[in-house]
């Protein structure tokens, strides 16, 4: 029904990276890791507790994998999400390694080539996908719980995790298609800008590199790189298995055991290095043949489990995280009509992920829009939220909580995040009360300590060279 690109067009920006896609399902092409990464971001940002917070059961599988399970008996289906501490932050010099390894999982495993693997799953209506973001590799499976569908799906997932083939001919194909996708990334001002911004924010930290890799690193990747990466990181002790579906505890235990049965125990890799604060503001003006200039600004933000998580989360919700009613949206779109979309977000990772702001506007007014963006941030840091803004934000976050844990697809993502980052099991239960407890002074204090407008990395992508040179001259 949703014929092609004949839209529909959506009124508000979907809150970038926070909203569910309007069109679910379907398979992606090109860099699958990118799609998965976006899904992962949706998680853990906005739970709370109303009635019926899912009851999480947890145990350790024989492989050493940690399992989190929520029974959801209403629909005859199960969602399984296996995550490893094997994100692109573990790539080392070989940028794109985690993502390429994940992509190759479904290209052949055990005795099955890619054709057979795809048929095995699709013959039973099951879905299987894999990808990597900065912190984790995720392998996701959805199946009906009736037999023999479930056994087939579980067997396939287990084999894909434990015994991927990494056939050289498949690697060559995947490599070439990844190179095509990387060139297509260069067509998108937003993607070009985001990659540059991460480099500017994270410097020599592994988070600086894009999970998809670069043309040079992808070209240089060998099969041995992949097999080594798999052998090192696809380990029981390094895995979290999240399960939501129509199973009882015994069924879930059997599933988790089987899925991870082929994984050696191994151990968790060492912690990632700390992220250094920026010492100075930077501006990179990337010339681009486009009608708009994409303006992005950011700096290191916060990590999962950060002591300032809740004040920063609520504060950002008010500043630029609440879609059509955020302060940024009001200043940039509602008052001035400068941009269709504008937003800010913290992306909490194992180490501090970025705090990021953005918009896009026609080239001629990019300077004005950037000024409003930065002034709005500065004013928010100086003044903090009003009581009215804070009350509205709390009502939105807590009142909307039931929506965010309504589906199995939502819950399984929460479970993976809770398990991966070691968040407390009562995280969902306590979320609402922790939101309620935040005061305006706490937000102001947290933003003053944690967000530094004089040390922002700024990237512009557009036909804006004249404006950029005027600014950088003034800055010297």
């Amino acid at each position: 029904m949703f014929a092609e690109r004949a839209l529909p067009i959506i009124h508000g920006q979907r809150q970038p990276r926070l909203a569910k896609p309007l069109f679910p399902a379907g398979r992606g092409v090109g860099v699958r890791g990118a799609c998965l990464a976006i899904l992962l971001l949706t998680v853990g940002l906005a739970p709370g507790a109303a009635r019926a917070t899912p009851e999480i059961q947890t145990w350790q599988a024989p492989s050493g994998a940690r399992v989190l399970f929520v029974a959801a008996p209403d629909l005859p289906m199960v969602d399984v999400r296996v995550v490893f501490d094997a994100g692109s932050a573990r790539d080392g010099e070989r940028s794109g390694l985690a993502s390429l390894t994940a992509t190759m999982l479904t290209q052949g495993a055990g005795d099955w080539n890619a054709d057979v693997l795809a048929e095995r799953m699709e013959n039973i209506g099951a879905k299987l996908d894999a990808g990597a973001d900065r912190d984790m590799t995720s392998v996701v499976m959805r199946s009906l719980t009736r037999e023999p569908a479930l056994s087939t799906a579980v067997e396939t997932l287990a084999t894909v995790l434990a015994a991927p083939t990494f056939a050289p001919s498949d690697l060559e194909r995947i490599r070439e298609n990844r190179l095509v996708a990387l060139r297509q990334d260069q067509e998108s001002p937003k993607t070009v800008g985001q990659k540059a911004l991460y480099r500017a924010i994270f410097g020599d930290h592994p988070y600086a590199a894009d999970p998809a890799g670069t043309a040079a690193t992808i070209t240089a990747m060998t099969r041995e790189d992949l097999t080594d990466f798999h052998a090192r990181f696809y380990r029981g002790a390094n895995a979290v298995v999240a399960i939501v579906g129509a199973l009882d505890r015994a069924g879930a235990e059997a599933l988790a055991a089987r899925v991870t049965a082929g994984l050696a125990a191994g151990e968790r890799p060492p912690q990632l290095p700390a992220v250094a604060e920026l010492t100075d503001g930077t501006l990179e003006a990337i010339p681009f043949t486009s009608s708009q200039t994409t303006v992005l600004a950011g700096q290191p933000g916060m990590r999962r489990g950060d002591p300032d998580y809740f004040p920063l989360y609520v504060g950002n919700h008010i500043l630029g995280g609440s879609g059509l009613v955020s302060i940024l949206m009001n200043e940039i779109r509602e008052k001035r009509g400068l941009s269709y979309s504008t937003y800010s977000y913290f992306l909490p990772l194992a180490q501090p992920g970025p705090f990021l702001m953005g918009l896009q506007t026609k080239n001629a007014q990019s300077e004005q829009a950037r000024e409003v963006l930065l002034e709005t941030l500065q004013r928010f840091i100086d003044q903090g939220p009003t009581e009215q803004e804070l009350t509205a934000a709390k009502k939105n976050i807590t009142g909307g909580f039931p929506l965010r844990i309504a589906s199995n697809g939502d819950i399984v993502q929460y479970l993976a995040v809770i398990g991966f980052y070691g968040l407390p099991l009562d995280y969902l239960d306590r979320f609402t009360s922790r939101i309620e407890a935040i005061g305006a002074a706490q937000i102001r204090d947290a933003f003053a300590r944690r967000v530094h407008p004089d040390r922002l990395a700024i990237v512009t992508v557009g036909d804006n060279s004249a404006q950029a040179s005027a600014i950088s001259d003034a800055g010297e």
């Binding site: 029904m1 090109g30 795809a118 298609n177 503001g281 930077t282 990179e284 879609g323 941009s339 036909d463």
Partner: protein, 462 residues
């Protein structure tokens, strides 16, 4: 092409009968005296609901000179009524923990609020207010029009594949309003006036041109009573749909080249194809949907297996068709060639695939796999309340009966290999074809980008 493929798959997954394992909740239906149709689908899995209002208006109702007006009006629906100031709508929904948005398509414009199940009245109070009492202020219009122009730049002008699709559509159709982009042509946006919107609003935003859909943890009788309270007092409007701009028969293959800054070429091919309302035989649209899945229903389908993996001609490729549109549409193919291959190879490979479908019946196992996926998809879809509401609203907005959903799986399951072959021969015919090729032009970043520069603080920048 991600977009193409995702959307088509969804189309296939959309309208299926429930499995025997679990009966779908009954849909309850009511019509108010003013003509507003209401559909309620109870689903008590979680204490939430989705409230959606679907208007029968979209870009395919627009005439030349005002293209994009339906979408601009949709933006203006958030810009204040006699009772509420601009953006107040969004603020109230947000304070009630709700998610809300709207979208405009060729055949409909829809607004929704997702809320906890005790907040339904908020949605009804606000939606009934803006159905007939929009302010459409001059100042808000001027500002919002700029927002829409930025939206167009972002979605279309600076995205080479989107731009290719827009120009492709304009060539593929000779007369059908589907030739116009939903977001409107730039020149039409320039000349749009708030008076145009006032007329458009009065014509189409009326209870007798809308369907209200509520799905979730609700009691249908209570929903009907609340709807009567809020929407009941609204007056009906005389709604006169525009005369159809019927698409004449195509008289041979059409081709176009789109030159735009890009790194990779892109191929789009579209064959004129009927929708459910205008097919010669009722089974044809269903056979076309199955055909699309045979080609592109997952990684085991023919395009992925044979063009991406087998011959490795395509880096990515997809096929797409939708039976449910108001007017006849297109059966689409798209793709990006793999290394060592060009657009010519890719087009030939796709034509070879079509020829095979025309000469050989599809394998029984392929057909069975598509059916299985369709049935599983129906189960998965029940995990997403919003889409359950959406399928009802969309069918009604297209002027079709929502009960068509009930027959959908049976109609798909009844498709035979011979019928698939027949529609391939009849519709995937070169005389009905339009081919567009994106011809990449240099991007400015082909020169080295500037190195980042330290600024010593951003005082000067701000």
């Amino acid at each position: 092409m991600q977009r193409l493929m995702k959307r088509r798959l969804l189309a296939v997954l959309f309208f299926l009968l429930p499995l025997a394992t679990r009966a779908a909740p009954e849909v309850q239906e009511r019509r108010l005296d003013n003509g507003l149709r209401i559909l309620v689908k109870p689903d008590h899995r979680a204490p939430i609901l989705t409230s959606q209002i679907w208007y029968r208006i979209g870009s395919s109702y627009e005439h030349g000179g005002i293209t994009g007006i339906s979408h601009v009006l949709e933006h203006m629906m958030f810009q204040g009524t006699e009772r509420f100031a601009p953006n107040e709508f969004s603020r109230i929904v947000a304070e009630n923990g709700g998610e809300e948005n709207a979208f405009t398509g060729r055949d409909y414009t829809a607004y929704y609020e997702n809320l906890a199940s005790d907040r339904l009245e908020i949605a009804f109070a606000l939606e009934s207010d803006r159905m007939r009492h929009l302010t459409l202020g001059e100042q808000e219009f001027a500002k919002e029009l700029e927002v829409v122009k930025e939206e167009r730049r972002m979605r279309t002008d600076d995205d080479p594949q989107s731009l290719t699709y827009e120009r492709f559509t304009a060539v593929a159709y000779d007369a059908s309003p589907y030739r116009n982009p939903v977001i409107g042509w730039p020149g039409d946006l320039e000349q749009l006036r708030v008076e145009d919107l006032r007329d458009w609003y009065r014509l189409w935003y009326a209870p007798n041109n809308a369907t209200l859909v509520v799905a979730g943890d609700v009691d249908p009788e209570q929903v009907f009573a609340l709807a009567e309270k809020h929407f009941g007092p609204l007056k009906a409007e005389t709604v006169t749909p525009p005369k159809t701009l019927a698409e004449p028969e195509q008289l041979g293959e059409k081709r176009l080249l789109v030159k735009a800054p890009a790194k990779e070429p892109y191929l789009l091919m579209g064959y004129k194809a009927p929708a459910v309302a205008d097919a010669d035989e009722p089974w044809e649209p269903y056979a076309l949907e199955i055909l699309a899945s045979i080609l592109d229903g997952g990684d085991s389908a023919r395009l992925a297996r044979e063009l991406v993996r087998g011959s490795q001609i395509a880096a990515s490729t997809g096929a797409s068709y939708s039976a449910f549109e108001r007017l006849p549409g297109l059966f689409l193919f798209d793709g990006v060639p793999a290394k060592g291959h060009g657009i010519v190879d890719l087009e030939q490979a796709l034509r070879d695939q079509i020829a095979r479908l025309q000469t050989e019946p599809v394998d029984a196992s392929e057909l069975e796999r598509v059916r299985t996926q369709v049935i599983a998809g129906k189960v998965y879809e029940q995990d997403a309340l919003f889409y359950q509401g959406m399928q009802l609203g969309q069918l009604e907005a297209l002027g079709l009966d929502w009960r068509l959903a009930d027959a959908y799986v049976d109609n798909l399951a009844a498709v035979t290999p011979a019928q698939i072959q027949a529609v391939a021969r009849k519709y995937l015919n070169p005389d009905r074809l339009t081919v567009a090729v994106l011809d990449p032009q240099p991007l400015a970043d082909d020169q080295p980008a500037r190195a980042p520069q330290g600024l010593g603080g951003l005082t000067h920048v701000r």
